[in-house]
């Protein structure tokens, strides 16, 4: 009993929204307040790592082509890498803050994977549009994790980083298996539903 792909996108959107809220709360309250409770430190890194773990079954069961499989595999790896590094930093196993650059790598690789695995043009159908948009959003927003690596206490970069996840959540919630985008739907895409 497999969920339709769009439902899987919505579940990941929910996880991204959670990530965004945790990071936004940290950005508003400030890192010192956020660190006052040990469990809070592990919240978003664990969620990120968990999303990476859940991306593996998505890669195995939901990909219909090699390029799709490679893209989902890349997302699984970078999500787990970035989550594990943040967990290591939170636990004190990793000390050098430069490790935070793995989140920039995760954003950059995710953006490239989105753009590389979408073979259709922007207005082919909604998912094609969203893949292009998500790809460019990840590439553009990668400036925030990069800047956060060198300016970890900057509220602007922390907020931008958090809002990038919220934006990704909104885009993933918009996803449908086959649906028009701005009134455009290629006849090659198939029959829209709902």
């Amino acid at each position: 009993m497999m969920p339709p792909p769009e439902n899987v996108h919505w579940l990941f959107a929910t996880a991204f929204l959670g990530l965004g809220l945790f990071l936004l709360a940290e950005a508003i309250a400030g890192p010192d307040i956020w660190r006052k409770r040990g469990w809070r430190l592990y919240l978003w890194p664990s969620l990120c790592f968990g999303m990476g773990l859940f991306m593996w079954p998505v890669m195995v069961f939901f990909t219909s082509s090699t390029i799709h499989m490679l893209a989902h595999g890349a997302w699984a790896q970078v999500l787990m890498l970035a989550g594990a590094v943040e967990l290591g930093l939170a636990r004190g196993k990793l000390h050098n803050p430069i490790w935070r650059i793995t989140m920039f790598i995760a954003f950059f690789v995710s953006g490239l994977a989105f753009l590389a695995h979408e073979q259709n043009p922007w207005l082919f159908q909604r998912s094609a549009f969203l893949h292009h948009l998500l790809g460019w959003t990840f590439l553009g927003a990668s400036i925030f994790p990069l800047a956060r690596t060198f300016r970890p206490r900057s509220a602007v970069f922390a907020s931008g980083f958090a809002l990038a996840f919220v934006a990704v959540a909104v885009m993933l919630y918009c996803d449908r298996d086959i649906a028009p985008v701005f009134g455009h739907l290629s006849p090659l895409a198939g029959v829209p539903h709902r």
């Binding site: 339709p4 439902n7 919505w10 929910t14 809220l21 936004l24 709360a25 309250a29 006052k36 919240l43």
Partner: protein, 92 residues
């Protein structure tokens, strides 16, 4: 520092702390509110309102309700301790 300047600095700092507490407190309700507005704007996305013929996954995964759930869980599980810590900082 003169007492007047010190008072102004303290007042500014107090305002900033209050603004942070208000902003953090609004995250959950705002998120849940967005979910409710979405459900009202696109009721067809809440399949529980018309469950006939829907499969398990379409009934279990309802995007507007998931957004509400995230907001409510944040409000119930994350916010209380965070507000406590912010209040402690204000008192100190």
């Amino acid at each position: 520092m003169s007492t007047q300047l010190a008072t102004e600095v303290q007042t500014g700092e107090r305002r900033r702390r209050l603004a942070r507490r208000v902003a953090v407190s609004l995250l959950g309700p705002l998120t849940a509110g967005v979910g409710v507005v979405w459900a009202l704007a696109q009721p067809y996305r809440v399949t529980l309102l018309h469950p006939h013929g829907q499969g398990f996954w379409n009934l279990a995964v309802e995007p507007p309700l998931l957004v509400v759930l995230v907001g409510v869980l944040f409000q119930l599980l994350i916010l209380p301790a965070l507000l406590e810590d912010l209040a402690e900082e204000s008192d100190s």
